[in-house]
């Protein structure tokens, strides 16, 4: 942990043709951390990773690892001199080399047969498979070999480009935790790129949400989930119920009652706000009589660990359905009438009138290609 450096990215710009992909991206990845860069496809997350690896050159901005500048307007360090490992989606093992030869690929000739390769095989849990060829391994094993190959050459930073995408669902979680453990033991800084919120939330120490070529929010997984910076981001990292309300200092008045405010980093002035709460916060009562808001259940899907219920509140002016997640199998509720209430603190953001809202969203990077965000400085 002590030896691994932090990665500092400043004002990164990159476009392909006339299509800007990154627009003034800023990110600091703490030393020894495992950071997930979370974004939808086309958000620029893979481009960011390829720039850090040195495969692409940024149009503007800088990349530094520790005290070493890898990219700025004058410097471009070649990929082979960066000591940054890269594990791609399919692992890209050399098909003509055995597992041991793959791991030893980047080592000087004398060390390729040494104990280092065997130690690494052991570390990634593939002891004894050194003579196998890549096509004789499962997808998860291939990813572990790719990781060992990067660590063999002493990479202090390892980039993972959606490495778990091609794996079976039941294999994925075990490979994820293996990879995390291996990196932690090696003391390497890990940067994972993914579009899978569950993966980011469950694996990472820190999540950076990338949107439209900039970082929308950087925070620990819990913080991202509970205190997203806006409603779009809230929906992106998980299921979200979004409605409107009016704050009165300590609480917010909504159609579903007076709800407590979550203490967030933002101070919200009194007045109209957008309100967000998670499906787990919705408490359900069966039957039409009693306290709570009446609602008709549109659908109830059983997922094994619980039931996801989508319902229509019987209130005037509320159109969008409310989603609740409850334990147990409640799929029989479909079509019936229930009552619900909202527990715990909710997230609020100052709401804007519709016309202003439209204007604001047009200023957001993904919909506005003409104005690079970084120009404002």
């Amino acid at each position: 942990m002590t030896s691994s450096p932090e990665v500092v990215i400043e004002d990164l710009h990159k476009g392909f043709g006339d299509q800007p992909v990154l627009r003034g991206l800023q990110l600091v990845v703490p030393a020894g951390s495992f950071t997930a860069v979370l974004g939808t496809s086309g958000s620029g997350k893979t481009t960011l990773l390829r720039i850090i690896a040195g495969y692409e050159r940024p149009d503007r901005g800088s990349v530094a690892v520790g005290a070493t500048v890898l990219d700025n307007h004058r410097v471009h360090v070649r990929p082979e001199r960066r000591h940054i490992g890269y594990v791609s989606q399919e692992g890209t093992l050399f098909p003509h080399l055995s597992v041991a030869q793959n791991i030893g690929f980047g080592l000087p000739r004398r060390q390729r047969r040494g104990s280092q390769v065997a130690d690494l095989l052991d570390a990634v849990g593939l002891a004894g498979l050194g003579e196998r060829y890549p096509h004789q391994l499962s997808g998860g094993q291939q990813q572990r070999v790719a990781l060992a190959r990067s660590l063999a050459v002493g990479s202090e930073v390892v980039l993972l480009d959606e490495p778990f995408n091609t794996l079976d669902a039941n294999l994925r979680s075990s490979v994820r935790s293996d990879v995390h453990d291996i990196l932690r033991q090696a003391g390497a800084t890990g940067i994972l790129v993914t579009h899978d919120q569950d993966e980011a939330l469950s694996m990472a120490d820190l999540i950076a949400v990338i949107r439209g070529g900039t970082i929308a929010q950087v925070a620990a997984p819990g913080e991202i989930y509970d205190n997203p910076v806006d409603a779009d981001l809230a929906r992106f990292v998980g299921d979200a119920n979004v409605t409107t309300g009016t704050t009165t200092g300590q609480a917010v008045e909504t159609a579903f009652g007076l709800l407590a405010l979550r203490e967030g980093p933002l101070l919200v002035p009194c007045g109209p706000v957008t309100v967000m709460f998670r499906p787990e916060q919705v408490q359900l009562e069966q039957g039409a009589h009693g306290p709570g808001v009446l609602a008709r259940v549109l659908s109830a899907e059983f997922h094994g660990s619980g039931t996801v219920i989508s319902m229509e509140p019987q209130l005037r002016g509320i159109r969008s359905p409310i989603v609740a997640r409850v334990l147990g199998n409640l799929s029989f509720l479909t079509g019936s009438t229930v009552r619900f209430s909202v527990n715990g603190p909710v997230c609020v953001w100052p709401s804007t009138p519709p016309d202003q809202d439209a204007q604001r969203s047009s200023e957001r990077p993904p919909r506005d290609r003409g104005q690079p965000v970084g120009d404002e400085r």
Partner: protein, 537 residues
């Protein structure tokens, strides 16, 4: 071989079955229709070899041995082997380096170079040697032969390697860079290894074509087996002597193909990895740009400038161009018809063999496929002689020296080139797609015409072009088999050049070049590419 299937069906390999032994395609049975059609085609292509054996039997193997066992054979063997090796190595180096520059670097004018580098293959070697011969007398013997064969054949290696670079996963090279390898070491340890199969495959074709070459060497006064075979036949009408020498040539070809079968068995693993999906960032040539461009311009000047320039020079040298308008048109029509029909037939015949070879990679199939390559090393003369023999003995002289025989000779001589073109596309038409179409309720014929053929289309186009380009310049078989009174551009050019009537020969050279430019362009643009719709996103 298992890795090939991995590339096509990665999900077939699961944990608990690390050997991939349960991959579904291994136990598929060979369909008899493909097998029978392919066997008939292979038998046709091997028939000249059978002719050689019959000849040897008639004069007695003892006599054949005496004919082979003479000092001249040693000279010929040395000349042929040293020439073939030198040309093949040079072609491999030039073809691989140029392909890498065009496909992997930011070389200026890549799209133009991609065509210019291929066109020399289309320039008839007769015309290339004519150009150099009449430019300088310094060029003679071994070095002349090496220069001319290299300049006309390196595009084959270029085409194969460029295609392999396009389809190989650039992620491998990037991975190597991340692991601390510089550009040169990445090229040697990853790029070259990835392209090894393509380079070797192209080298085999180049070597076979050098073995069979005649016209260029005759001009240069360089003696190889093929030129000596021609001399035996032409000067002394010594058919047994010609056949005896051909046997040695055949042995060389068999050795080459056997080696290839053994190496390719291992090389198949290298095709694993998925196709490139993103635009690969290209290597910056930087300060190397100027030297690289100079080298490419020089190559184009040597390969294209000299033959075309000298043809134009000779055409106007005698004052007014000496046009024989009518006969040149007739010769051009004959050339285009013969070559076009032969190319179409050869391409069609290549379809079953290619499908069989790609889908059922067992030893018997591989031997069957490779046996069709033998004919590439046979001089056209020998194939023509076998025709006359079969016609005389079994058909009472029927069909000898008619247009269909010329076409058939072209089909046989250049079938392997069609196969090379079609086979590449056959790899992109996996049986799983046909099965999918079948499961949608389509009959076999519909599936073939609506799924298989469209996927094969680029391969059919390039196979056609390769055969066409080779057939346009075919000389020795044409001289024997062509109907009395008819001429092709190549035979007429040859006749004038033999008489040293360069001014009259030159227009024929230029017409030949004009005819081959179109197919050469198609070849450059489509060789071993995916069907266009499959790549569009």
């Amino acid at each position: 071989m298992a890795a090939v299937r991995t590339a096509l069906a990665p999900e077939a390999i699961v944990e608990g079955d690390p050997s991939g032994r349960n991959a579904p395609s291994r136990r598929r049975r060979t369909p008899w229709l493909l097998l029978v059609t392919s066997s008939v085609i292979a038998a046709l292509l091997v028939s000249p070899v059978v002719f050689l054996v019959i000849q040897a039997q008639e004069v007695g193997f003892r006599t054949v041995w005496d004919l082979i066992w003479q000092p001249l054979t040693a000279t010929l063997l040395w000349n042929t082997v040293s020439l073939t090796c030198t040309v093949t190595v040079l072609c491999a180096v030039i073809g691989t380096l140029t392909a890498w520059c065009v496909e992997r670097t930011d070389l200026p004018g890549r799209r133009i170079w991609a065509v210019l580098l291929v066109v020399p293959f289309a320039i008839p070697d007769l015309v290339v040697s004519f150009g150099w011969e009449t430019l300088t007398t310094a060029l003679h013997g071994f070095f002349g032969a090496v220069l001319i064969m290299t300049l006309t054949l390196y595009p084959l290696v270029y085409l194969f390697v460029a295609a392999s670079l396009r389809s190989s996963d650039p992620g491998m090279e990037e991975a190597a860079r991340s692991l601390g390898l510089g550009r040169v070491r990445t090229f040697v340890r990853v790029t070259l290894v990835q392209s090894r199969g393509a380079i070797l495959g192209a080298c085999v074709v180049v070597a076979l074509l050098v073995l069979a070459e005649y016209g260029a060497f005759e001009d240069l006064g360089f003696q190889t087996f093929t030129s000596q075979i021609f001399a035996e036949f032409n000067v002394s009408f010594n058919v047994p002597g010609a056949c005896a020498l051909t046997f040695v040539l055949l042995l060389l070809a068999v050795a080459l193909l056997a080696g290839d079968v053994m190496v390719q068995g291992k090389g198949a693993v290298l095709r694993a990895g998925r196709l490139a999906q993103r635009e690969v960032p290209r290597q910056h040539l930087g300060r190397a740009t100027a030297p690289v461009l100079t080298a490419l311009v020089l190559l184009a000047a040597l390969a294209l400038g000299v033959p075309i320039g000298m043809s134009i020079y000779w055409m106007f040298e005698g004052g007014t161009p000496a046009f024989a308008g009518g006969s040149i048109v007739a010769a051009a029509v004959h050339t285009v018809l013969y070559s076009g029909i032969a190319a179409a037939l050869a391409t069609l015949m290549a379809v079953p063999v290619a499908l069989l070879a790609v889908r059922y990679r067992r030893l018997g199939v591989r031997l069957l496929e490779r046996s069709t390559f033998l004919v590439l090393s046979l001089p056209g003369l020998v194939v023509a002689l076998s025709f006359s023999f079969y016609s005389e003995h079994y058909l009472h002289g029927f069909a000898y020296q008619t247009s269909p025989t010329v076409v058939l000779a072209y089909v046989m001589l250049f079938f392997p080139l069609a196969l090379v073109g079609v086979r590449a596309s056959a790899a992109f038409a996996p049986p799983s797609l046909e099965q999918a179409a079948g499961s949608l309720g389509k009959g076999r014929l519909t599936v073939f015409t609506r799924v298989t053929l469209p996927l094969l289309a680029p391969g059919l186009a390039t196979g056609f072009c390769l055969v066409f380009l080779a057939a346009v310049t075919e000389l020795t078989a044409t001289l024997i088999l062509i109907p009395t009174g008819a001429q092709t551009l190549a035979t007429q050019f040859w006749a004038y050049e033999e008489n040293l009537s360069y001014g009259q020969a030159a227009p024929y050279a230029l017409v030949m070049i004009a005819i081959v430019l179109g197919p050469a362009y198609v070849l450059a643009r489509h060789f071993q590419r995916l069907p266009r719709r499959a790549t569009g996103s």
